[in-house]
């Protein structure tokens, strides 16, 4: 069964709203990095954060004490519904499913909660913080805002989890009792995450992210949310969501990506939205693209927007849909001209583009893909 994208919402460090963020990407802009620190260490990291102004106007009693990750999700989800022309009160709450894609979850509140336990003792632990540490808190808040009473799922995984959520949406929408599925990917950054990825040698201390570089200089973490409304009709069709799989070690990354891309690339592909982020993922994707779809353009938005992990897959889907819709690709930033791929190094018209692949490779062993088309 083919699903279509009926609406999209986007909250990023480069702004909020699909059209606004897209225009800035086309102009070659990138998010501004800010530094993030922790009180018990001098070490600081650079991150791309969502400006507070991006969330103004988002208010609901459930969001009063909610973490940033929940507010990003709510903002993106409401945008997506609005762009699909859906009014909250006119929808049957049982006929909308909600699927969330998350990686690290409400890490800021989780850290604060555990900080109280470690620093002061269990008796100091706040009962107000604990519920916000649970992975499905953001989904719960959005379900309450929308009044959804049917299926609500939160999926956890790495940067490929957004595409896994699309596969699950296809499975749910096979049930004709559903009209729509709202899929939301969301993530927030914290010093602790930066430190963890740095210890894993995946993080760069400061921008830029240099995609497809053989040196694997590392990524910059970012935050925000992406949301899409899936329906049976819409402006772009998801022809196939590939459930992908996992790689046991990094050396196997290329093998699984090739399998996914070979499965999806049986039709002519005009461009690929890659997940290259300055890490080991890049070389695996580069080899895969060169071998399987050498004539397709390859674009990655991560140098401009950062690595948003749980939100990243949804961001990639939005990028693919926007490129198909607007018939142009933004420039890939900070890419070396000698990279043996067809990269749009400047704003590039693609007037005949009909079909795109989203390839998503996470840092914790998961990979997935999907193929999208526009009439």
């Amino acid at each position: 069964m083919r699903l279509a994208i009926a609406g999209m919402g986007w909250v990023t460090p480069l702004g909020t709203g699909v059209d606004s963020v897209w225009e800035r990407l086309l102009q070659g802009e990138e998010a501004s990095a800010t530094t993030i620190c922790e009180r018990f260490t001098d070490r600081v990291y650079s991150v791309f954060r969502v400006p507070e102004s991006a969330l103004k106007g988002i208010s609901h009693p459930r969001l009063r004490r909610a973490s940033a990750i929940s507010r990003f999700a709510a903002a993106a989800g409401l945008q997506a519904l609005e762009s699909a022309g859906l009014k909250r009160e006119s929808q049957n709450p049982e006929r909308i499913a909600l699927i969330f894609a998350i990686s690290n979850g409400g890490v800021t509140y989780t850290k604060r909660f555990y900080q109280e336990i470690v620093g002061t003792g269990a008796q100091a632990a706040s009962p107000l913080l604990f519920p916000e540490t649970v992975f499905n808190a953001p989904a719960s808040h959005l379900a309450a805002i929308l009044g959804v009473t049917g299926a609500t799922y939160t999926l956890v995984g790495d940067a490929a989890v957004g595409l896994t959520a699309i596969t699950m949406a296809e499975e749910l929408m096979a049930n004709h009792a559903l009209d729509y599925c709202l899929v939301v990917g969301t993530e927030e950054v914290d010093w602790l995450l930066c430190d963890a990825y740095r210890r894993w040698r995946l993080l760069r201390v400061a921008p830029p992210i240099e995609p497809f570089s053989k040196q694997n200089l590392g990524m910059i973490l970012s935050e925000g949310a992406g949301a899409i409304v899936l329906a049976r009709e819409g402006f772009a069709t998801i022809e196939r969501a590939h459930p992908g799989g996992y790689f046991r070690k990094r050396a196997e990354t290329e093998k699984i990506l090739k399998r996914i891309l070979c499965d999806l690339g049986q039709m002519e592909i005009d461009f690929v939205i890659s997940s290259a982020n300055g890490t080991f993922v890049d070389q695996a994707e580069s080899q895969t693209l060169q071998e399987v779809v050498p004539n397709a353009l390859a674009y990655t938005g991560k140098p401009a927007l950062g690595e948003s992990v749980g939100a990243a897959g949804l961001w990639q889907i939005i990028l693919a849909a926007q490129a198909l819709h607007s018939k142009e690709l933004p420039p890939v930033l900070h890419a070396n001209q000698s990279i043996p791929l067809r990269l749009p190094l400047s704003r590039t018209p693609i007037p005949n583009a009909r079909r795109a692949v989203v390839l998503s490779c996470g840092l914790n062993q998961q990979a997935a893909g999907l193929r999208m088309a526009i009439q």
Partner: protein
């Protein structure tokens, strides 16, 4: 859905405070054993609750499997590996096309170690190992790797409903014909942060866990893992696979009352059960046993009790959490294994520590002792934070 496929459970594996494997679990259930013990894994001196259902490390970490660097894996990974080992012993050729599991915290205690080392300037030599094994999806990937399974994984984190949601979604994937075989289940290991979290909410009890009792005062936590091979029934029979039970219905609902409390009327729980009955195309009167979510908190048991008594007329009900604690993301999967054993061995598992009926909850509680009974259909409930509600119905299949 026209001509939906029937869905068989062809193998299962379980590890919980009740025991390692289905046989030990059955023995503990039949003897209505209290497997809740004092917590020694981390300090609970400042907590109200000081007990939990716990899996013994000495047996857990003594796996004979050839696993790469087993010392680095999280306890949740070891639980999943042992549960999957039991399943694979029954079905060595099982090759799922998809894996759907539930969890709430994955390798949380490794995250705690990392934070404590950072905060206290402790040794961070093992930090890369902790970080690599912390992600919620890692235990299922480790278990699949141990047995050469390469299916893509969907890891559901719907709080305490996760395990039932995972099996339910897997069931729907096979029933729709999209997949022929799916591995489903759940896992969670005890973690200090979660333990203190429930304690801070005063949801856990310093006393015995007494689900549905007039004097109930809260839950105790648990841990474990359980997995099931779900297959198209016709295909399973065609290849001569044993069929342990059939999954016939799944219901999911979301109530939007409060992030930690169920809607007081029990509408969310009731909708999940009604949808499961509708999905199974059976009447409430066809159900012979309800394995309740039954956390023993005042709110849960009151609302769940109302919903069960409104739908079912005197069906036997027990919460097996009274014996092993609440294993969160694993609970729905472990309790599905309990239902499987009840169907296979024709008995009603007990709701232990039961002293007096709650006047406000009209239920037929299987109090304190397991008892023989004809059980053809069993319904299992799981309800979680965020208003996540799920119900699953299993049926005994005659040979």
């Amino acid at each position: 859905m026209n001509n939906p496929a029937r869905v068989a459970v062809t193998a299962a594996g379980v590890i919980s405070p009740l025991g390692f494997g289905l046989a030990e679990t059955l023995e503990a259930l039949r003897s209505a054993r209290d497997c809740v013990t004092p917590v020694m894994r981390f300090s609970v001196t400042q907590c109200r609750c000081k007990t939990a259902g716990q899996v013994s490390d000495s047996r857990l970490l003594a796996s004979h499997l050839q696993i790469l660097r087993p010392g680095r894996l999280h306890r949740a990974s070891h639980m999943m590996i042992q549960a999957l080992q039991e399943l694979m012993t029954q079905q060595p050729e099982f090759e799922p096309e998809l894996t759907v599991v539930g969890t709430t915290s994955g390798g949380m205690s490794y995250g705690e170690r990392y934070y404590r080392s950072l905060y206290g300037a402790g040794g961070l030599r093992h930090a890369p190992t902790w970080i690599a094994n912390y992600p919620a999806q890692k235990p299922v990937i480790d278990a699949q790797t141990a047995f050469g399974i390469s299916a893509p994984c969907q890891v559901i984190a719907n709080a305490c409903a996760s395990g039932t949601n995972a099996i339910g979604h897997a069931f729907e994937c096979v029933r729709s014909g999209r997949y022929r075989s799916v591995l489903a289940g759940g896992y969670d290991a005890l973690a200090e942060m979660v333990f203190v979290g429930f304690d801070s909410l005063q949801a856990s009890t310093p006393e015995k866990c007494r689900p549905f009792d007039r004097h109930r005062s809260g839950m105790v936590l648990g841990e474990g893992a359980a997995v099931f091979s779900l297959e198209n029934l016709d295909l399973a029979r065609a290849r001569g696979a044993p069929v342990l039970a059939e999954i016939i219905g799944y219901g999911i609902s979301t109530d939007n009352f409060h992030i930690t409390q169920p809607e007081p009327s029990g509408i969310g729980a009731r909708q999940a059960m009604e949808r499961a009955l509708e999905s199974a195309r059976i009447a409430a009167a066809d159900v012979d046993y309800v394995n309740a979510h039954g956390t023993a908190t005042v709110f849960n048991d009151a609302t769940e009790g109302k919903a069960i008594s409104a739908l079912f007329n005197g069906v036997p009900v027990s919460s097996t959490k009274s014996m092993m604690g609440h294993s969160l993301g694993a609970a729905g999967a472990i309790e599905a294994a309990v239902c499987l054993l009840a169907l296979q061995h024709q008995f009603l598992p007990a709701n232990i520590n039961f002293t007096a009926a709650d006047e406000d909850v009209d239920l037929n509680i299987v109090a304190n002792e397991a008892r023989p009974a004809a059980v053809s259909m069993a319904l299992s409930n799981s309800f979680g934070f965020g208003g996540a509600n799920a119900s699953l119905i299993m049926r005994k299949l005659e040979a």
